[in-house]
């Protein structure tokens, strides 16, 4: 297997742009990634694109905007981990030696999707969905268990939202560059007790792209390539086997695999970008990723360790809560953010001396399966 590096990253601005076509959003990200890498569109040999709504020929549609055609293009869907899946697809193509240079792009136009401003409707066969199970509903029930079992408070959940919104103020590409207080988060509209509106990620349009190549080829373009030292993607189990809803079995398994592949442990990670669709979720993932022991996520949050300037900044970009969550774009976008830090180009939100970073995504609801049925982790190093 060949070593793979990332030589270019690009992102569109995130926000509500119902007037922008998917090709336009994706084209912005791809153009930015190409110019960041300093390569020509004709150097790209393979492309993976991810999109959830509506998934046809997204790669061909976007890449025509910059003059890329003819080459092998693959379109994938994997809910919130779709972008991670596209990134991993290109990684595999290059690691396996099929191609030398490829591009991964994730895009979503949430404001023009069938679920704009609505909850995701259940499939016909999804009995629990018809009986009232929703995404905020499940995370609210998880939050109740965190309060019951680990002494979490609603202020802790609000704290995550306050932290990530503060981070987002430092990110020019964030949808919401606005700080909130704990009280403002708690006083925002109740969605599912105890989850309030400002503890939920917003509906967002946006795209992100990354250019990967073999490490040998990367050295032609840059003296400081960022290496992909772990790429993992796994699926979840039947819900019957999830004893504790505050633990993601697939999220924990994929973390273990990633650390093994990278030959490092959670103590070696300098920053993390992760799926924080709901504020309380971030606290659980600290534990799934081994940033602290099981049950100590709240303590880690309260010490400020996961803030910019802390021991292990989590979601310095602002996360999904502040940056926004264009579903299939987020997986690529998380990788792009980690890379900016590893290059020392993250501006006011820079993690000092960042050498190794982790990008995680988790998502997908399928009737009868653990919630968050797909998980992916990439570990990157300079």
């Amino acid at each position: 297997m060949r070593e793979v590096a990332v030589i270019g990253v690009g992102q569109s601005v995130f926000g509500k742009f119902p007037e922008k076509a998917v090709a336009e959003l994706g084209g912005e990200a791809v153009s930015a990634a190409l110019s960041d890498a300093g390569i020509s569109p004709k150097d790209v040999q393979v492309a993976y694109a991810s999109r959830l709504y509506n998934p046809w020929c997204t790669a061909q549609d976007i890449l025509k905007e910059v003059g890329i055609r003819h080459i092998e293009m693959v379109n994938v869907e994997n809910t919130c981990a779709g972008g991670s899946t596209a990134f991993r697809g290109v990684w595999k193509e290059i690691a396996d030696g099929h191609y030398d240079i490829g591009i991964a792009v994730g895009v979503e136009s949430m404001t023009t999707s069938p679920i704009a401003g609505k909850l995701i409707p259940p499939e016909k066969s999804d009995l629990d969905g018809h009986l009232g199970m929703t995404m905020p509903g499940i995370f609210a029930m998880v939050a109740r268990r965190q309060m019951e079992e680990y002494g979490a408070t609603v202020e802790d959940f609000a704290h995550v939202s306050v932290k990530n919104h503060r981070h987002g103020c430092l990110n020019p590409q964030a949808q919401y560059k606005k700080e909130f207080t704990i009280e403002e988060v708690l006083d925002s509209r109740m969605i599912c007790e105890p989850i309030t509106l400002l503890m939920c990620c917003p509906n967002t349009d946006g795209a992100a792209a990354a250019i990967l190549c073999s490490l040998d080829v990367a050295r032609r373009y840059t003296t400081t390539p960022i290496r992909v030292i772990a790429s993992t993607l796994q699926s979840g189990d039947y819900k019957e086997f999830q004893e504790d809803i505050t633990v993601s079995p697939v999220g924990t398994r994929v973390a273990k695999m990633a650390y093994e592949m990278a030959g490092c442990g959670p103590e070696d990670i300098d920053l993390v970008e992760m799926h924080d669709a709901f504020a309380n979720e971030e606290i659980l993932r600290y534990e799934d990723l081994g940033l602290c022991k099981r049950g100590e996520g709240i303590a880690l949050l309260r010490t400020g360790a996961t803030e910019i300037g802390g021991r292990i900044p989590v979601n310095p970009s602002g996360g999904l809560l502040s940056l926004g969550h264009p579903l299939s774009a987020s997986g690529v976008r998380a990788v792009c953010e980690v890379i900016l830090h590893l290059r020392g180009q993250a501006g006011a939100r820079q993690t000092p001396e960042a050498k190794v970073g982790l990008a995680q995504m988790l998502g997908g609801v399928v009737a009868g399966m653990e919630h968050g049925v797909v998980a992916s982790i990439h570990i990157l190093a300079r």
């Binding site: 018809h130 009986l131 009232g132 199970m133 029930m141 969605i191 599912c192 019957e240 809803i245």
Partner: protein, 130 residues
């Protein structure tokens, strides 16, 4: 009168003793499922038998929804109930005036109307505080 239809066939019933949930069990390894599994998700055995679950369980978690779900207008409650058989059931919960939800409280299954659809009355299971 409106037609009465179950939210799903064969997973609940009501007799003189009251409401009951019907799960199934693998005849080979004994693993229980609710709703019924087509085959054993542990050992892949296809030989399954119906099991009547206890009428009461303990509330594992809950939430009160303040925005509409597909069929329920707010406020509505949902939760997980741990049954003595070692199985966790997701269900709508009945909000009562005098018994606020609390993790660990005893809950009892009831069968009643869940929602109306065209000219049909859709019935199913809910749990209410004992």
């Amino acid at each position: 009168m409106a037609d009465v239809v179950p939210v799903r066939e064969g997973i609940f019933a009501e007799d003189a003793e009251g409401a009951k949930l019907l799960g199934n069990k693998c005849k080979s390894c004994g693993q229980l499922f609710f709703p019924k599994a087509k085959f054993c998700l542990t050992c892949f055995n296809k030989d399954m038998e119906e099991v009547v679950l206890s009428r009461r369980g303990k509330l594992y978690s809950y939430t009160i929804g303040h925005m509409p779900s597909t069929h329920f207008q707010p406020p509505y409650a949902i939760g997980f109930v741990d049954m003595p058989e070692g199985i966790r059931v997701f269900a709508p919960l009945k909000i009562t005036e005098d018994k606020p939800f609390k993790v660990g409280m005893a809950m009892e299954v009831v069968i009643e109307e869940l929602w109306r659809e065209d000219d049909k009355q859709v019935i199913g299971y809910k749990f209410k505080p004992v």
